[in-house]
Structure formats: C-alpha cells, structure tokens
C-alpha cells in the first residue's frame, strides 16, 4: 500500500464501500464532522480509492432538487480498505497496563 490512510479516511472509505453514497449521508452515518468527511472524500478520490458521478437527473427533477454527487469505492479502494481492516483485525485487545508507580495522594 502506497499511502497509509488515517482512521477518519478509513471510516469514510468504509461507509462509501458499504453503499452510503452522498456526502451528507456519510456525515450522518459515520458521525464524523463535515469538515473532516469532505476533505477525506476529496483526498480518497484524488488517490483513486473512490470515484464520483452525478445522480440521474430524472430522479432529481422528480424530487424538485438538483442532482446530488454520489461516491463509489473503486476496486483499488475496496482492496486497500480490506487490507487495512485485516491489519487492524490482527491487532489483539490489550488489558490496561498497571501503573508502575504508586499514584500519590494529590489532596
């Protein structure tokens, strides 16, 4: 993998790969702030992990609104996502380490 993705970018890519196609829906489904989601989308698209196109104009017109942009994960994106998830999965949970020093009473 050429570029390592941030957790936020992975979350966004994951949402897109699962079929959440529109910006605002991704914000709602991931719970990430919009100021994080959109730059992540732009970067994922620039790096070829997602591609975008415009909603069918007839659907939009029937709804009396402009067509929305929708995102889809590219095969490269899906592969990268799965690799990253696999690596994450390989990590095992850790129990909280015990304090090596006794914590002094701080009043």
């Amino acid at each position: 993998m050429s570029k390592s993705l941030s957790v936020a970018a992975l979350t966004v890519l994951h949402a897109v790969a699962q079929g959440t196609a529109h910006g605002f829906d991704i914000i709602d489904s991931t719970g990430l702030p919009g100021g994080t989601v959109y730059p992540a989308l732009s970067r994922l698209e620039r790096d070829g992990f997602v591609s975008s196109s415009w909603e069918d104009v007839h659907i939009a017109r029937a709804d009396h609104r402009p067509p929305r942009r929708y995102y889809r994960a590219t095969p490269l994106g899906v592969r990268t996502l799965n690799e990253a998830l696999g690596r994450l999965h390989a990590l095992k949970p850790v129990r909280a380490a015990r304090a090596t020093r006794p914590v002094r009473d701080s009043r």
């Binding site: 529109h22 100021g35 959109y38 942009r69």
Partner: protein, 885 residues
Amino acid sequence: MTLNHDRSLRLLDVISVLVPSGERETWRREWRAEFAYALHDRGHQPRPGSAWVIGRLGSATRHALWLRASSIRLDTLAQDVKHGIRSLRRRPAVTLAAVLTLALGIGANTAIYGAVRAVLWRPLPYPGADRLAIVSSLDRTSHGGPELNSVSPPDFADWLRESASFEALAAISDGGFALTGSGIAEQIPAAAVTGRFFDVLAVQPRYGRALTAGDDVMGAPNVVVLGYDLWRRRFAGDPNIVGRTIVLDGVTRAVVGVMPREVDLPLGTDAWLPLRFEPNDLVTQRGAHYLTVVGRLRHDVDLMTARTEMKALSDRIQSRLSNKNQGTHAVVHPLREAIVGDVRPAMRVLMGAVGLVFLIACANVASLVLGVALGRTHDFAMRTALGASRGRLIRGVLVEMLILASTGAVLGVAAAAAAMRGIAGFQSAGIPLLDQTHVDMSALAFTAAATAIAAGLVGLIPALHASRADVVVPLRDSNGRATGDRRRARARSLFVTAEIAVAVTLLVGAGLLTRTFLGLTRVDLGVDVDHVQTFSISLPDDRYKERPRRAAFVKELTEAIAARPEVESAGAAFGLPLSDFTYSITTFERDGQRLSPEDQNRSIVQLRVVTPGFFRAMGMRVVRGRAPAAADAAGSPPVVILNEAAGRLLWPGQEALGHRVTLGTRLGGANRVGGEVVGIVNDVHDAGPAAAPRPTLFAVHAQFPTDFVTVAVRPRGTPVGLIDTLRTAVAALDPNVPLFDVRTMEERAGAAVAQPRVYLRLLAIFAGLAIVLASIGVYGAMAHTVGSRTREIGIRMALGATRREVVSMVLRRAGTLAIIGVAIGLAFVGLARQPLDRILFSVTATDAATCVAASAAMLAVAWLAAWIPARRASRIDPVRALRSE
C-alpha cells in the same frame, strides 16, 4: 434570523470563492445539491434548524479551504521563491534600493505603531483594566470653561457611601516624602491611599501584603508598601525587607509589602502609605480639592451608567448641602484617558504622517520594479507560451515582491527596535506611558501586515502586467516597445504625482509644527528664567509641626543663600511659576463682605505663598505697589500680592491695590489666608505658553508658613558648584532635610514646550524622508522618461529644436506633474485639518504662508530632480540617437 434555503445557497456561493477555480463548479454543484436535499421538504422528516445549517456551512468552508490549501503545491511555491530570488539577484542595484526604501517605510511605521500602542492601546497592567475609572469633580463655574478638579474628602466619603456603580473606590493623595535613616536623605514620590486602593487595581504584592481596609483607620500602625523600583534601588531587592522599618518624613513606618514592577499608579510612585482622614475633615473640608479618586466599575455597570449615577449622586449631595458645593459634578473617565490626557490628536497626526511615508516608499519601489517587470515582457510571454497559467505568473510576481518586502521588513524591524529605544527615551516630553514603547508580538504582527500590504501595493501593477502578457506580439516584434513605454510612462506619472502629493502634505505638517514651536518659545512667559536654579524642600512633620519653626527655617535659608557672594537674589515659594502645581481656592470675602456661593465659585484664584526675595529671583515685575518685605512678619497685618489677572477677576475695572481679600482656606493655620492687596505683579503663563495665565494670589510665607517650598536662586554670572553651595546651606540648618526636584528654570520652561518639540522632531524626520524619497522618485521617473525618448528627442533636434527647447519640454512635463501633486497634497492637508489644529499654537492648519512655502520647496525639488535628466537630454547627439535603435 433563520437560515432558509435561499440564504444558505447564497452563502455557499460566497464560500465558493475560496475554492480553486478548477474545482469550483463541481464543489458548488455538490454542496448546493446536498443542502437542497437536506432542506428539501420530504414530508416525513423535520427540517433541520439554523444551528445545523451553520454547522454544515462551516464544514463547507473547511472543505473549500482544504481544497485551496492542497492546490498550492509546495514544489511550485519553492520554485517561485527560487525564481524570485534569482531574478532579484540579477539586478542588485534595484533590489538594494527597493529593500532599503521598504525597510525605511516599514521600520518607521513599526516604531510609531509601537509608540502609539504603548500610549493609547496596550492594556494597563492591571486585571480588568478596562473597568478602572477616575472620578473627578467637574468645576462648571471656573473661568475658561469647565475644568476637571481634584476631589475633596467629604465628596469622596459621600461617593464611597452612596455610589452603587463601583466594586471599590479609593482616594489618592500623592506627594513627596523625605526618606531618611538608611543612606543619604532622599525625597521620594509616594502616594497616600485609602484602604481599598490595591483592591481597585486588583494586584497582589510581590512580597508581604498590600494595604487593606484596616490600614486607613486613624490610630492604626504606621505602615508602608514599597514600589519595585525603590525596593531594588534603595534596598538592593532584599526579599526580607518585609517587617523592617523605614523613616518617611520623620515617621517610622513598618514595611508590610513590596509591589511588583508593573504596579505604578500614580505614574512614578515609589511607595504607598495609608491615607487617613480626621473625622472632622470629612465634614468641613468640602472645598479642599486635593484627592484623586480611582474606582473599579462593577461587572454589570458600564461607563455611561456610572456617569449617570455619579451625576445624580452629586446632584443629591448638592441639594443636601444647599450652597457649599455648588457647581461641582462628579464625572467618570476611563483610567487610561485620565493618565494619557489629550495626546490622542497628536498620536493621530503622527500615525497619519508615518503612513504617508509608507505610501511614498511603496510608490518609489513600485516605480523601480515597474521598469523591471516591463522589461520582462518577453519572459512572461515565453512562459505563457510554454503553458504557465496567468495565476502562476501573478503568483510569481507577488512572491518576488514578498521576498523584497520581507527582506525590507527584517531590516525595518531592526531599525524600529533602535528607534523605539530612542522614542522611549523622550521621557522628559511629558507624554505618559511613552517610555513603555518596545517591540512586542503585536508590533511584529503589525510589521507582517505592513509587509504584506507593501508587497501587494508594489506588486500590483507588475502583476497586472504579467496577467495581460500577450503571447504573440512581443515574441514576433522585438521592436514593439512603444506600447510598453506609454503604459510605463503613465504609471510612472501616477507615482510621481502621488509621491509629490504626500511629500507636500508632510512638508506642510512639519512647517506648521515648526511655526507652533517657534510661537511657543516666543511667548513671554512672564518670568526671566535665565540661569535661575531651583530646588524643593519639604520640612518633616515631626520637627516642623509648629508653624513658626517652618517660617523661621525658610527665612533663614533664603537669607543665608541670598547673602552668598555668588548669589544675586533668592526666594522661596509654595507653588513655583511654570509648575503644574495648581492650588486653586475660592474667594471667601472681598473687602470684608462674604461672597455669595455663586460669586465664591466665580472668583477662584490660584494660591501661592512667597518670601520677600522671590519675585526678584524669578524675574517677575511688580507692576504697581510693592513686593512682600521683611516687615510683613507673623505679628504684623497680613498682606497679599495679586497678579494682574487676579486683580481684573476680583475687582473688574477697578484698582485692586488697597482692597482686602480673604480666601476659603486656612492653609492649616488659625486664620483664613488673605490680607490687604499691597502689590500687583505681572501675569505668568503657568500652564505653558499655550494656556492663559491663571489669576493668582500671593500670600507671604512668614504669615502663612507652609512645610513645602521651592527655593529659586538667581546667581551672579554662572558660578561653578552652585548646587553644592545650596546643599551645604540646607544641611547647615538641618542635615535631615533633603533637596529634591533640583532643576534650572530653563529646564522647567523647556518642559512646557517639550511635547511639541517631540512631535516636531518626529514630523521633521518624516517630512525629510518623504522629500528625499519623492525627489529620488521624480528623478528616477524623469531619467527613465528621457531615456526612453532618446530617439524622439534626437529627431526633434535633427529637425532644428534647440537645447533650450528640449530642456523646457522635459521640465514642462515634470512641472505639470509636480503642480498636480502639490494641489492634491494641499487638499490632503485640508482633510487633516481637525486633528492638526488641536496640536497647533499661534497658527492654523490652513496657514497660507506655510502652505505656499512648502509647495514652493516641493516644486523646486521636483524641478531640480527633473533638470538633471533634462540637461542630459539636451546633450544628445542627434545622429547617435537615431542610430541607437
């Protein structure tokens, strides 16, 4: 306001400006569609509220900024920088001139910004300093309009009890105290303050404790809090000073605390001690205005509310008192305003002046780099042909200018740091807080902004030029200079006109201040200050409580000094001419008649107490009657001397001699100050040459002895070691009485004109800079014009034009530009008239002579700068000129 659909879309359009143009349309479509979808009435879902919309608009902004930031590729920026540096280094002379000019412009502005910030803007070093206020008495009936007055103890006590606007109020009575005991006796500036003074300032001591409410009670222990400077200087910064004792004016006081360095109120105070009032004073001393009152406004009270409340409160007090306090109102001013006083217009003028220097510097540099940019038409065309975008070319030019300006800024800040040290040293100028001038983060931020503006201004025309780079014409026709030249000439003319306009403005300003300064120094102050030496003494209470002892000390001292062979005359006074010592008192009786309260307040005079030799030592003339004599002693009938203004005030249209007057004060003695008027002396401009003389009554020290006097000594010739002689004379009478405020009268008189002198000096520097820069600009522009017209001039001469005609042709052009510039400059002066008039004296901003002189000077300089290239043009050999292409 609710953010509906349409408004959101409009805001999105605004935000879309941030997005790089290549991606803007896609961005706009996507965001509009998402908003439309979300705000679309889908029947089953509630539409989101304003908070949601604002949040999403924020997201859109962040997205736009991200796209913009990621579009600036660092590698191309580095390329631009490298390219810029290379292109600047190719023309070292132009670059050096431009950098130095910008350094001057930016440096001068940073320095003045620092000074103005120190005086007007930097918060005072107290927590919540914007809520600190000074409460004064406004004296409505005093001559010459309402005058701010100090506060009397009963007024203060009433305010303290009844006002609701302040968290805390404190009264200050500042003065000097003799510090004796450890080391040499020394007079230190100290302030007696009431208990909550340090609560008002909300400051904590560095060591020990501050004064508290218990300290100002009568009979509480004698304590003192030291200021940082005194503690460092006199006690070597000893951290164990708390608990030790010092002797002030003969009273032993325990040091209970040391304040940190920034605590300095009133300015220059070295120590604070409790101010205590005799219960009786709080009732009877309603006319004794000597307190400064400082308060901290409550959180929920603003200045206007406090003003209203205090005005109502003083009306209430007045009605209770029927007559005694008529005409005074409590007024509230922010602390800074009270400290800084009326230097605001002067600061505004200085800022304007230095801003103009900045514009001239930018115009000069713009004119310099313009030629270079036009010379690079080929370069731009070539790069456009090779695929560089216009944006890229513009950015290249701006980056180059930014490098230029930043280099100038670095030099400028270094120069500004030095200049600020110089400005902070103008301490004697009487401009408060000016000594706090230094480079700080805010000054650096200001420099950065000035640098960016300079780069923008300087790069504007070259950048526009780059953006209009035509691919075909310059590449095809290497001779296509005509259009470029015309454009260049037009831009140059603009710069020259602007520079001349700005320089004329500054010249007129400097001229007006010169005349102000001369006018001030020419005013006859009413005293003869040459060689007169003065010093003050304050007799400590413990040994000089009895008034005859004070009188005897001062009498013996002045007589002993006057008897010295090197002394022509000597005298002492409570309140020296030309000092800011104002002790104004209402007149109580005139010729035995009690004055009505209105009349009392209408006839307020300044009280001074003098010894027989004083008028002679001070060079004041007895106009009629006589000066005080040795016979006017404690037991003999009291006499007073009036100045002419007081004579006119008290007995308008009559001879005051022989009348009797009594003032509303006893000066701590048994009888009211007053007596028969036995002499009239000339008026003295006490508050400086610009202010009218104050009506003054002089009592005789032997009859009304004070513990504080200033001794004035007029020597014969210029004796060496006079001050040592005077010290010896004082020490011979009492070694524990220190001399302080040892200054010549010339210094005191100089202080009165010190402030205009500082402004004059700064404005003269700016005007000088402006005229030098402008003449360089005119010269450069004319030299270029002549150079580019070599061929034309050659043709004209070949066709029979004489040298004279050529010279006058060039001069005519320069003259036209100069005259237009001068006219615009004079219009600028008209715009700055109001702040200017407030710092001028004996001349107005529209003074014809000054305007004419400045215009003539500027025209002469412009013509001279044009004459050199004109002469060169007239020497052109027609044959060579025609061949040169």
